[in-house]
Symmetry: D2
Subunit: 243 residues, 4 copies
């Protein structure tokens, strides 16, 4: 059974009534509940817990970390970011959702600025599957719709994805690479675009299915490894005789 | 100076008045004239010439072959397709335009079915640049528009492009990977989507710029090489002493 | 349970005593037995059976096809190759072993010449893992050795792999991309280099583990689909109102 | 004409007589002289200059930055690393040489640990070309040799290269992805393995040719751009009417 840790900034829901109306228990609880329905074990953590809830123990027992952040990226401590990064290097899966494109951990893993264009217009997003045999697209039709969403538009400043699974169409005239996979160290990283806090995106059954698919794809069988750059570093003995 | 050979099926223009009205001298002549303006040397060839105009000599003197075909893909002889393929393996650049996604040579180089969804609705296409530092996108803004075009929609059944440069947005709700680069043997292949025969797409200055960019990107300095699979094939001498 | 069909040319074993001594029941039986040990269901097929044993029914019930061929690539009928290709497009996994780099089906799926350099010297091959988190490398150390093998050297004329898992070192001074993954249509393709017929490579436990890993990686959950280019091709209805 | 800035830690040459004997004026001067021979304009900068010689002005006038560092990676200031990173995002090419795999700027751009295995044995390295049509491999044979080098072995903890150009063979039994290209922001990054300070690698004509090829490949025509994440970030106006 896959162990998931769902992390949420959890500020908007406590500060903005319109967000609280959509996610009364927080975005993390909505996502965690959906993952439990899908057969995963799901714990949660939030920014204002000690160590943001991302203790060594919490990370060590997770197969996959789901991340939602928006307005307080800079409040996430660099030490915790480095701790998460080290776990990803050792095999922790990471699912970065929506505005997590601008989180410290995602930018750190990408090495680029990760900026996007955007517009909160509440119009339709249509997510097209461009890699229908990819595990994250399992069980989907050729596209799915989200009735009301924030728009993200290209250019999305990321390294070219190792696997591009979804491209979004927006009514206002934009496109976006909205489902992207990368491999980093022993870990797998997936970015999934939908999920603005003022819309009920994470209550949508198809969106929940995609997140569950992504979690299963990102989970490594066999557990955590020592990250490559933490391994012993002494000169390697030659395998062939040198003289 | 880059030597380009522009190939066109050249049937629609002779059979359909509405196409002849847009391309009175044929699509090939419109493209060739634009490439000459851009500083290339451009010859042309068409389906109904002997050997489809794709003689060994014509191919040997070309750096890049531009290909437009639509209704008569099956009339292109397999021998000529194999000849073109061998030249691509040896370094000939290939620019496949619009319905050339279904040409024998493009499908042969891709190894997949290369099918698309489509609709001739004459609505707006907006082409977004998703790799702004790519040479084929040189001099472009973040997107460009074509007022009236045929729609192509995903899933586009291709191998994942080595480089994805453009994604198109269509008014009817679709997206498409409309600028894709691959490397095959010593050759470079670029697919560029716009260009339905009933619309004046190839008279558009931005479209012409993209094609000229693609031609320059696909041209190999240093000329044609012996394709890898035509090279001498005897056992390789060991470089290190084996005992 | 994964259903595998192991195909073998099965000529060398019947014609050459030195090969028969190593694979008395044929390479296919050695591989099939190892896959059964690993928990798969494995059937076999060979060149000289009717339709090379690759009937529509045999392919339809397979999740993955393992292919070994060497001296008789040209005797495989084009119709059967096209049938296999169609199944791969619909989701059949394909594992191409050793000299299958030059098989019709592998070259057809790659679109390139797929030639290699070689030398039958019976020296040591050391296979290095360059993507240790890849499912095909599960359970392996940083490298594994094969005491006696044929050498294959670069340049290997393939499209750049979507995923590069292994690189081989050869005593005579060469390297080779010996574990390569591609996605074609709905199918997954893996090339694995070791396996010359005069050496007991397929009796090696690590080689057997790699092949079983590759089979599990290439098997698509959910069964065969209609290949993209066999789907209905009528104009797509617009999802958005066009006026 | 391409403007190159060659950066060197320049400590070993001043502290170790055996290094000074090989590079009496510093590794940077040897490389810069070779680049001037190849038709580039080359300036130099070193760690112990103010701001490590990497002032805003010095970076702004460079098309490509060549980087060699080894023992003092941690002494490079984070502010300067961020400045270099911003320039790469805006189009500055970066050539990371040998032990620069572990430099702050390279690791920052990769997002992974970038560790390697190694052994200073002074044995033969043979560098194989696995993408012979790549501009960085222009003019090379199928492989080239370096008589005496340090060994680097896999696993090299990098994101899968966008383009893999070279693989090295080492006498002691190892392989290494020794020529790797990535795209980051508007910039191009190339890692080239050879170049241990105690060996005359940078005096070798083929190594010099590769570095000059890499510089030309990494230089962006059209000059520096505003990095994507420094661009104005206000909501995007819709291109299509939303109602």
């Amino acid at each position: 059974m896959t162990n998931v840790l769902v992390w949420n900034e959890h500020r908007h829901e406590r500060q903005k009534p319109d967000v609280a109306a959509v996610y009364p228990h927080g975005i993390h609880e909505t996502i965690a509940a959906a993952l439990r329905e899908a057969g995963c074990t799901a714990a949660t953590a939030t920014l204002d817990e000690p160590e943001h809830g991302l203790t060594e123990a919490a990370l060590a027992t997770a197969d996959v970390l789901v991340w939602w952040g928006h307005a307080a990226h800079e409040e996430v401590s660099d030490d915790v970011v480095e701790r998460v990064r080290r776990h990803v290097m050792g095999g922790l899966g990471l699912i970065a959702l929506h505005s997590a494109h601008y989180s410290k951990i995602f930018r750190r893993l990408m090495g680029t600025g990760c900026s996007v264009n955007w517009r909160v217009d509440g119009q339709r997003e249509r997510v097209w599957v461009v890699d229908p045999a990819h595990p994250v697209a399992a069980g989907l039709d050729r596209c799915f719709e989200i009735a009301h969403e924030e728009m993200y538009g290209e250019f999305f400043d990321i390294p070219a994805p190792d696997e591009l699974v979804f491209i979004s169409w927006f009514k206002g005239g934009e496109v976006f690479r909205s489902g992207c996979a990368w491999h980093r160290g022993y870990g797998r990283v997936f970015y999934f675009r939908p999920g603005h806090e003022t819309f009920p995106t994470y209550h949508d059954a198809t969106v929940q299915k995609v997140i569950a698919n992504a979690v299963r794809w990102a989970a490594q069988p066999g557990g955590r490894r020592t990250p490559p750059d933490s391994a012993r570093r002494e000169p390697l003995e030659p395998l062939e005789p040198l003289q």
